[in-house]
């Protein structure tokens, strides 16, 4: 077994998970997507982050 097998397995798993999510999650809507840049958008940053304090 060589490293290429591990890399290929990771890429297949990643693609498989994205495919699973495409079926299970809400459909994508690019027309409701935020502007390309948060800076200058006038919108508050809303993405999740590991440093965000937990909900109270």
């Amino acid at each position: 077994m060589i490293r290429a097998h591990v890399t290929m397995a990771m890429l297949v798993l990643m693609a498989g998970f994205i495919a699973f999510d495409a079926v299970a999650a809400d459909p994508l809507n690019p027309y409701a997507a935020p502007p390309m840049l948060a800076l200058g958008s006038g919108m508050a940053a809303a993405g999740a982050h590991c440093a965000a304090p937990p909900p109270t």
Binding site: A45, C50, A51, P53
Partner: protein
Amino acid sequence: MSQAASAAIPSSPGAASRLMALVAVAAVVLAVALFAGPRYGLLLLIGLGFGLTLEGFRFGFTGPWRRMILERDASGLLAQLICIAIVASLAFPLLAANGAELKGAHAPIGVAMIGGAFVFGAAMQIVLGCGSGTLVNAGSGNAIGAVALPFFAIGSFAGAYHLTWWTNLGSLPVMVLSGGQGLAITLIGLAAIAGLALILGKRGSHRLPARYWGAILALAGLAILHLVVAGQPWGVVYGLGLWVAKVVVGLGGDLSGSAFWSAPGNQAQVAASVLTDVTSLTDFGLIGGAALMAWWRAGLASPIGILPARAWVAVIVAGLVLGYSSRLAFGCNIGAFFSGIGTGSAHGWIWFVAAFAGSWVGVRIRPSLGLEARK
């Protein structure tokens, strides 16, 4: 050179193969931009940049700490501190002028946070990979990273599931350094650690190899671009836990028992496409970028090393611990140390001290787990 010897040397992919790979990557990024939104395509591209940088310059966070502890080689740690200083110098003014649109990696200091950082530091030395390191290692064909990654994700999900209980053990309010004064304190703090590392380090540690300078500049540029695009700093571990939460819900599981996963924002993110989650996109990019770079320079042909069973058990347990503890610690080397200090969070400094102490322990535990030759 003999025929046998030349056959053993893996050849780099040809120009046509490289061009096809670049076209394929561009097509994936474009597809995400078209179907999810331009911001998400750009975030995937930034993630690919992180992966290419970390693998291409052979730069990371765990190895330099290990070399500082074992060999007194401070050069890698110095490179990390310089990179954070550059990020802070640009991020502090951006955050000060655009507080409504941009946010830092700000978290509270607490009992569980400190304990989590210590344990994370120990576990990352066992698998030789932090949050970003495990993703890059897995992408570049490292079997230890690939085995640790799914358990890292399960641990991250579980840590987030229990996060409120842990933070209720005792936390201070979120403390943030901001503005010119905050930046000055941050830069002085980074300089003080660098000075201490140079005093404790062996002679010549101040001379950074050229590849470190490449990594410093590329990582700092990508980190600032990430802040501008996403409105938040680079992070890793939220996305890993989210992947498991999606699988649990997809299999009919119920997350209402967790204050964290049942919070409206997290419920919405579990229901939404993973291609709209900031950290998931950069995590995918880290794996893909590392894979691309490893393939590009013919680094995928080497055989996988054989390890004893107890080493694989250790990798699985360490993966779970990495994920769980990184949620309690409010981030890994990226979310807490790199982005936390770089955007003024006091918890980043405490995280660094606790995780470095944990690393000191982890470096000494590792040989007994069958992951390296015992000395």
